[in-house]
Symmetry: C2
C-alpha cells in the first residue's frame, strides 16, 4: 500500500545510464534521422522526450492527477501461490490490471494525450491489434479532451466487438482496417477486398491519416517500442521500489516482465536495471513467446518498426519487419521487434531473456487463477510462468529469494483463449529456425543492418 | 486508503437494531418455519447466522485472509465528475469492482464456502442468471477447496459463453439449465425442449441437486436476499466508515446503492442505517429499475423467493414470485422480491427507494466513463444515476453534501448493453400498473399474505 501523495513525481530515463551510447534512429537512406523529421508524426515536446538523455523527467501535475484515478497500483504478495509451490521465495507482483482499461497501457496513453493537447493538437490516430492499446488511448483522449481515431485490424474488429464498444464508450472512433479512409486502405481493399488486415496495414493507415490532415492538428500515437513511452511506464518500477521498502524488502533478486514491444517490461525493470548498472546483483528477465522469439532468436540490427517501412530504422532485436507470427492468444506479444532501449540493455547483458510456449503459459495462468484468484491476460501469463520457474528454482536451491513480476493486465477480455485451452484445443508452438532465416533475409537488403557490432552480435 | 490490518474484524447484523422485530419465514402451510427445516439446504452454521440477532459477528481469520486478496476495497472521490457537474457536493464511491470476479459478490461467496467447508460439506450447487454470482461462487469454492456446480439459465449460457469460461477457469462445472441432471430439468426438457430457461427453473434444479445428493455432502448456496448473506456484505459499509474518517468526513449525508435482491445495497447501507436508528440524519436510497420496481411499486407481504415455490415464504416487498421482468441489461436487478431485512428497513421508513429506467442509467454510466474513466456494470449505473441527481440537487440548494455510493461492479462483461445503447437501440421501460396487478393476483391465494399490517402496508 502506497499513499497517493507518495506516487513518484518523476519518470526515470535509462538512456542516461546505459554503459554504451544508444544507436541513433536512421532515415531509410541510412543517414542519421534528424528529430525534426518526425514533427509531422509526433509533437515537438514528445520528440524532445524521445531523444532526451536526462536521467529524471518531471511528471506534469495534471498527468499525475489523472493517474491517481487508479494509481498507486497495488504491490501484492502471492502468498497462496507461494504456499502451493512450497517455495521459500517471496513472490511480489505489481498489479497494473487495476486501470480502467485493464492494463498498464494507460500510463503512457494519458501522458501522450496530455503532451499532444499541450502542443495544441486536437486529434490523435493510432492502430490496435487485439484492442488493449486502442482502448487505453481512447480512455486517455476522452479524459484529456482530444478526438481519437483507432484503426483496428479487421479480423480483431470482427472477432472482438466488445473492444470496439469499449473505445466507443470513451468517445473514440474505431474503424476496421483496411478502411476506405486512407489511400493505403483503399488500395489494399481494391486488391484484396476480403483481407483480414494486419497490424502493419493499420499502422500505415493511422500514420497516413495523421500526417495528411491538412489542419495540421492531428498526430499519431504509438503503444510501445519508442523511448518516450518506455519512460512513461517507469512509474511502475519506481512505485514498486517505494512499496518494497514499506514491505521491508531491500531489493528484489529477480525482476520479471513479459515482453512484446517492451513497454510493461521496461516499466517494471528499468529502475532496477539502473541499480544493476550501479553494482547491485539482480537477475532481470524479459519473457517472450516461443512463437515470436525476438530477443532469444533474433539479431540486434537496424529494422523498420512496421511492415510498410513508414517508420525510421531502429536499432533493435528483430525477426524482420515482414515477419507475421502465429495467431497466439497473447496478441500483445506478437511484434517482430523489441524496443531499442530494451534491446540495448540485452546487448549489454543487463537483462537475460527467456521464451515460453503458450501452453506452458496458460497452465501457469490456471495455477494463478486457482491460487491467487484473478484471471490474467495471456500476455501476463508469460511473466507468471517465469515467476513459477524461479520460485521452483529457489526451492531447489533452498534460497529465500525475492521474486518480483509485473501483472500487466487482466484476462477478462481474453476468455476465448482460456476456453480454447480448457477444451484442449490449444497447441504449443515454437518458431522453426528456417522461418526466422527466411524472414531475416529481407533485412540483408539494408546495408545499415550490418553496421552494428556491439555486444554479442 | 485503508491498511490491510485495519480491515473490519466483525460483520454488522441489522436484525439487532431494527425498531420492530422481524417477520419470521413461514412454511408453505403458514406455520412458522423451524430453522432445522432448512438443514438439507444449508449447513447448520449458516442457518445459525441466518436467524441470529447478535449485533456483531466475528469474521473468521481464514475468511479475512482470502478477502485481503482484494480488500480493503478502495474508497475514492469522484473529483472529475464533481467538477463536470459543478456541484458543491463531495461524491465518494466504494469500489467493489476490484475483486477478481469483478463485483461485491465474492464477499459472501467466500464466507459461505468457508462455513460449508467447516461443516464438512464437499460440494455446493447454485444457479446464476447473467453469471456474476456463479463466477463469484466458482471463484470462492476454488480457493476454499469445494466442488461447485452452477446451473446457468440456458439463454445466458448461450449468449454469454465467457462467463461460463470464467467459472470453468476456477474449476467449477457450469451447466445450461434446464438440464438432464435433475428431475425438474428432465421434465421441463421433455415438455419444452427449446425453452430458453429461467432463473426460477435454475433455482429449482440447484436446490434439487443439493438435497437429493445421497452422500449428504452437498448443499445449496444463494447470491442475495437472505440475512446471512447481507451480513457478509456489511464489510463494505464498515470499511467505508473507517475510510471516510481518514478522509476527514464526519458522516455521509446521502448513501446510495442499487438494489436487486438487496446484497450490495445492504452491504454499504446497513452500518449507516444503524447510525440513523440511533439518531443521525442520513438519507439512504436503494435504487431499482422501473422495469422491476419492487420497493417502489410492490406490497410488503409474504411470498416465495423462487418461481417454483421451493423456498420458505419470506416477508418482503415483492412483485409476485411469478413475475418475469423485461430483459433489461441490469440482469442482477431483475428479481421479483427484495431481501426481508432491506424490506423491513423500508417499511420502517429508514430507507427511501427510487426507481430509474435503463436509458437514464446508461446515460449516467456514459457520463461516469467519460469523467471518471471506468465502465460500470449496468446494475451499478443505477446508483450512479441517483448520485448524479443528488449532486445536482446539492448544487441547486448550494449545500456541501457528502454523497456516498457503492460502485458494485465493472461493466467489462456487459459491453453488449453499451453497444446497444451507443447504437441507439435501447429503450426506456416502466412496468405498467396492470402488469403489477396481474402478477400480484397469485399472491392472494396465500392467506398469510394478508397478515402483515406493519408500516405503510
Amino acid at each position: 500500500m502506497l499513499e497517493e501523495k507518495d506516487i513518484p513525481k518523476q519518470w526515470y530515463n535509462l538512456a542516461a545510464d546505459l554503459p554504451t551510447p544508444r544507436q541513433p534512429p536512421l532515415a531509410p537512406d541510412g543517414s542519421v534521422l534528424k528529430p525534426e523529421m518526425l514533427e509531422r508524426v509526433f509533437p515537438a515536446n514528445i520528440i524532445e522526450q524521445e531523444v532526451s538523455t536526462f536521467r529524471w523527467i518531471n511528471i506534469p501535475e495534471e498527468i499525475l492527477e489523472i493517474l491517481t484515478l487508479w494509481r498507486p497500483a497495488p504491490l501484492r504478495r502471492a502468498l497462496a501461490m507461494e504456499k502451493y509451490l512450497k517455495t521459500p521465495a517471496r513472490i511480489y507482483y505489481k498489479d497494473e490490471s487495476v486501470s480502467p482499461a485493464g492494463s498498464h497501457k494507460p500510463n503512457t496513453a494519458v501522458a501522450q494525450a496530455w503532451y499532444n493537447k499541450k502542443f495544441g493538437i486536437q486529434r490523435l490516430t493510432t492502430e490496435t491489434g487485439a484492442g488493449q492499446w486502442g482502448s487505453a488511448l481512447a480512455f486517455a483522449c476522452n479524459l484529456i479532451g482530444l478526438k481519437c481515431r483507432v484503426y483496428m485490424v479487421r479480423i480483431s474488429f470482427d472477432q472482438k466487438p466488445m473492444r470496439k464498444t469499449m473505445m466507443q464508450a470513451w468517445g473514440a472512433e474505431c474503424i476496421a482496417s483496411p478502411s476506405p479512409h486512407t489511400r493505403t486502405g483503399r488500395k489494399i481493399l481494391k486488391e484484396m477486398p476480403h483481407t483480414p488486415g494486419s497490424l502493419g496495414i493499420a499502422i500505415s493507415e493511422a500514420v497516413e491519416d495523421a500526417v495528411s490532415d491538412r489542419s495540421g492538428k492531428s498526430r499519431y500515437s504509438l503503444g510501445s517500442v519508442l523511448n518516450h513511452l518506455l519512460l512513461h511506464q517507469t512509474i511502475i518500477g519506481l512505485e514498486v521500489k517505494k512499496q518494497l521498502k514499506i514491505a521491508g524488502e531491500k531489493q528484489p533478486d529477480v525482476v520479471i516482465g513479459c515482453a512484446g514491444g517492451g513497454s510493461n517490461f521496461a516499466g517494471i525493470a528499468f529502475p532496477f536495471v539502473c541499480d544493476k548498472i550501479h553494482g547491485k546483483k539482480i537477475e532481470i528477465i524479459p519473457v517472450e513467446p516461443t512463437a515470436c522469439p525476438t530477443l532469444t532468436k533474433g539479431p540486434f540490427t537496424y529494422d523498420f518498426g512496421d511492415i510498410a517501412g513508414l517508420t525510421p530504422l531502429l536499432a533493435m532485436y528483430t525477426l524482420g519487419h515482414n515477419f507475421i507470427p502465429e495467431p497466439i492468444h497473447a496478441g500483445g506479444l506478437r511484434y517482430h521487434g523489441l524496443a531499442p532501449l530494451v534491446s540495448q540493455a540485452a546487448v549489454e547483458g543487463l537483462i537475460k531473456p527467456r521464451a515460453f510456449d503458450q501452453v506452458k503459459c496458460f497452465k501457469s495462468a490456471m495455477l494463478w487463477a486457482r491460487t491467487e484468484g484473478a484471471i490474467p491476460a495471456p500476455e501476463t501469463s508469460h511473466a507468471i510462468a517465469c515467476a513459477i520457474d524461479e520460485a521452483k528454482k529457489a526451492k531447489q536451491e533452498a534460497k529465500q529469494k525475492v521474486i518480483l513480476f509485473c501483472y500487466s493486465g487482466h484476462g477478462l477480455m481474453d476468455l476465448a483463449g482460456y476456453d480454447k485451452f480448457l477444451s484442449g484445443k490449444l497447441r504449443a508452438y515454437s518458431l522453426p529456425r528456417h522461418k526466422i532465416r527466411d524472414s531475416l533475409c529481407a533485412l540483408k537488403k539494408f546495408p545499415v543492418a550490418k553496421k552494428i557490432k556491439t555486444g554479442r552480435w
